[in-house]
């Protein structure tokens, strides 16, 4: 027996288990996490947006409040100036009062057009501002050859636009060294019928408070807010260094961030909106996720390995046992789980297998011995029977042929024939009850006794009586044998015959249908010591034939459990009765075989055909 080995590397149970669990976990986790992530993200974004909007709105409101406050008083002053003329001192007083009532205003100036206040004076622009350290109000007069204020933006732009204007934030180095923005309100006077531009009232505010307000906007701790001017310059920024020095565009340029540039432009256009930052997903989450799965995989592999280790060991042992090594030690797994049970069953199986194989070997050896003995027995048994045909070639007066086909190695049928003298032939057929070795032994005893008993001047009935008495001696098992025997005088064709319970032979008279030979009563041999047998006589004409057979012929069975029966035997005998004995016997045997088909032979099949050819030429 050979065991096929698969060259393909097999994946271990632990590997499969790990892979399946991990795949399952990954799918479920990804689905759950993905859904949760998207949902939370949307929720958070919504919150952030709302929050940011609210914060911005609040900040804008505060800034507006301050700015409106800052705008109010200078506007009144400008209005007052357009209605009437103030003298120098009154004007100074109004400006001073303006600063005193508005702490948010850093400084304020009233700058007149050249010669508008005093026809003698080119410049007139008193400017009050808070001193950076003492916070006391200081007064200076702007305007000289180097600072011709009426050419400056803060003067020119509102003058040209004829409306109040907030300047771009700027860094004032002269007065306060702070970032400021200036609110400039133009005023005019009616000169004749015409309104003539007269000057500008300014209010400077420090942008420090703006920085304070905006920098306090810190959404979610990680966020920050900044304010840009019309030109994109940072007015406030958490990084104070960037204020006035950097613009949103310079930052975008430095980072080569096109989106930031677009955002800046949108902000300048006064739009409101939200922009997604591309680099929000840092990859950290991916790393954590991957690492998590890695650890999970290791844990699963470890657990699977631990669980399947005894299985792997068992598999190895099983392969070893399959190779025929039954002495291998199956280490018992001391756990009460299925693997422990498997291991114990496996060990039991091994022991049982070992026992079974030992028994089988013993049985096989015994069987082989028995079979070989049976074969020898068969040879011996067959050697009892005359098997060389024609047996008496010099005797042309008769022709005889016989066959015995055992159902088992040895059988219980018998036939025999031998010459008693130069013109007497003794012939017999018999069937021992049962089959196998006991029957064979009984057959051998019967055959030997018959040959030893039969004699020239002894009637067949006497032969049967004597053999019966011998067989009855000590026959406790009640074996018996049916025997038909006869003596042919081939000089005359006379046949003397007797019967001990055997089925009647067929007699084939030349040119006539076969018929059964009438038999005397006779109990079979071996059971009753005092059985009496009778001899009868018939005369055979040349061409007549006797066919002796055992019930193995007529009781041969086919697959449908039908018997061969006498009628089939008669038919074959009718067809081939005129042929030599050997042909007839062979035809009957073939017919029986064809009938039985594949059905196993259940009984010995024995036939003896004796044909009388002619009377001896030279009667002695």
């Amino acid at each position: 027996m050979s065991i096929a080995r698969h060259p393909v590397k097999r994946r271990g149970l632990a590997f499969k288990l790990s892979l399946m669990i991990l795949t399952g976990t990954a799918v479920i986790f990804t689905a759950a996490f993905g859904y949760n992530y998207i949902y939370s993200r949307n929720q958070i974004l919504k919150n952030v947006e709302t929050n940011a909007q609210n914060l911005t709105l609040a900040a804008v409101n505060r800034i507006e409040t301050v700015l409106r406050g800052v705008e109010k008083d200078p506007s009144y002053l400008a209005h007052a100036l357009s209605e009437k003329k103030f003298d120098h001192q009154t004007l100074l007083g109004r400006v001073e009062a303006l600063l005193n009532t508005n702490p948010d205003i850093f400084g304020s100036a009233v700058a007149f057009d050249p010669y508008a206040f005093d026809p003698e004076s080119l410049y007139f622009a008193p400017y009050y501002y808070r001193d950076g350290i003492s916070l006391k109000l200081k007064l200076i007069y702007l305007g000289n050859k180097l600072y011709q204020y009426f050419f400056w933006d803060w003067y020119q732009i509102p003058k040209e636009l004829e409306r109040a204007v907030w300047s771009e934030p700027y860094f004032d180095e002269g007065a306060g060294n702070i970032i400021m923005s200036t609110y400039s309100i133009p005023f005019s006077r009616i000169n004749g019928k015409k309104r003539v531009f007269t000057g500008i009232v300014t209010a400077d505010i420090s942008l420090d408070w703006l920085v304070d307000i905006v920098s306090r906007l810190s959404p979610y701790g990680s966020g920050y807010a900044f304010l840009i001017s019309q030109s994109g310059v940072f007015v406030t920024h958490p990084d104070r260094e960037a204020i006035m020095r950097e613009s949103i565009f310079s930052v975008a340029e430095a980072a080569n961030d096109r989106e930031l540039r677009e955002t800046g432009r949108a902000m300048i256009r006064g739009e409101t909106g939200f922009v997604a930052l591309k680099k929000h997903f840092s990859g950290q989450k991916a790393i954590i996720g991957t690492a998590g799965f890695g650890i999970l995989f290791l844990v699963i592999v470890l657990i699977s390995g631990t669980i399947t280790r005894p299985l792997r060991t068992l598999a190895g042992k099983a392969a070893e046992i399959a190779r025929g090594n039954l002495d291998i030690e199956v280490t018992e797994v001391k756990s009460n789980d299925e693997i422990g049970e498997l291991s114990r069953s496996f060990d039991n199986m091994k022991v049982a297998l070992k026992e079974y194989i030992a028994n089988l070997a013993e049985t096989t050896a015994a069987k082989e011995r028995y079979e070989s003995e049976l074969k020898i027995a068969r040879t011996i048994q067959m050697s009892f029977l005359p098997k060389n045909f024609p047996p008496f070639p010099e005797n042309v007066e008769f022709d005889i042929y016989a066959t015995l086909d055992s159902a088992k190695e040895v059988g219980g049928d018998l036939y025999d024939f031998f010459l008693l003298d130069e013109d007497h032939l003794f012939f017999s057929i018999g069937d021992v009850s049962g089959k196998g070795v006991p029957a064979a032994l009984f057959m051998a005893a019967t055959k030997t006794l018959m040959k030893g008993t039969a004699g020239r001047d002894m009637a067949p009935s006497e032969v049967l009586s004597r053999v019966n008495r011998e067989l009855c001696l000590g026959n406790d098992s009640m074996m018996f044998v049916t025997v038909f025997c006869g003596i042919l005088n081939f000089r005359t064709g006379e046949v003397l015959y007797s019967n001990a319970g055997h089925n009647p032979p067929l007699i084939l008279r030349a040119g006539q249908p076969p018929e059964w030979l009438t038999l005397p009563d006779g109990f079979f041999l071996g059971t009753m010591e005092d059985s009496v047998y009778e001899t009868r006589q018939i005369l055979l004409a040349p061409g007549d034939m006797l066919l002796l057979y055992t019930d193995g012929v007529t009781e041969a069975m086919n697959g449908d459990k039908f018997f061969y029966e006498e009628r089939r035997l008669i038919r074959v005998t009718e067809d081939h009765g005129h042929e030599p004995p050997e042909n007839l016997v062979r035809e009957i045997l073939r017919s029986v075989r064809d009938f039985a088909g594949s059905e196993p032979q259940s009984d010995d099949i024995t036939m003896l055909a004796l044909s009388f050819r002619r009377r001896a030429e030279n009667p002695s």
């Binding site: 009850s433 049962g434 089959k435």
Partner: protein, 115 residues
């Protein structure tokens, strides 16, 4: 086909054994002890109801002879009842028709042998 055996009480002291199917080399080993026991327990003898027995081989005949010998030794009687023709033919060939008594039915057997 198998041998079927039923044992019934026919008359006090007489057991009835019903045989069916085939009594041959394959079945006689099971049949013999049952028949022997039925005979043993019937002090007056035994009735063998052969109505359903379809076939008897030489091994079956041997069983019959053993039973008959035992009955003869103990002085008991055996009645064969309702034997089918092909079985009777075999009994006749073996000359067993001379040693057994044959009847059509149980009643007749009881009347003839045990009354």
């Amino acid at each position: 086909m198998d041998i079927g055996i039923t044992v019934a009480a026919g008359k006090p002291g007489v057991n009835v054994v019903r045989l069916s199917g085939r009594l041959d080399a394959a079945t006689y080993e099971a049949a013999q002890p049952v028949i022997a026991e039925a005979l043993e327990k019937g002090p007056a003898g035994m009735i063998l109801d052969m109505g359903s027995l379809d076939f008897i081989s030489s091994a079956g005949l041997r069983t019959m002879i053993i039973v008959w010998k035992k009955a003869a030794a103990d002085g008991k009687r055996i009645a064969m009842v309702d034997v089918q023709p092909q079985i009777y033919k075999i009994f006749k060939i073996a000359a067993l028709d001379k040693v057994f008594r044959f009847f059509d039915n149980e009643g007749e057997a009881v009347r003839e042998l045990w009354s």
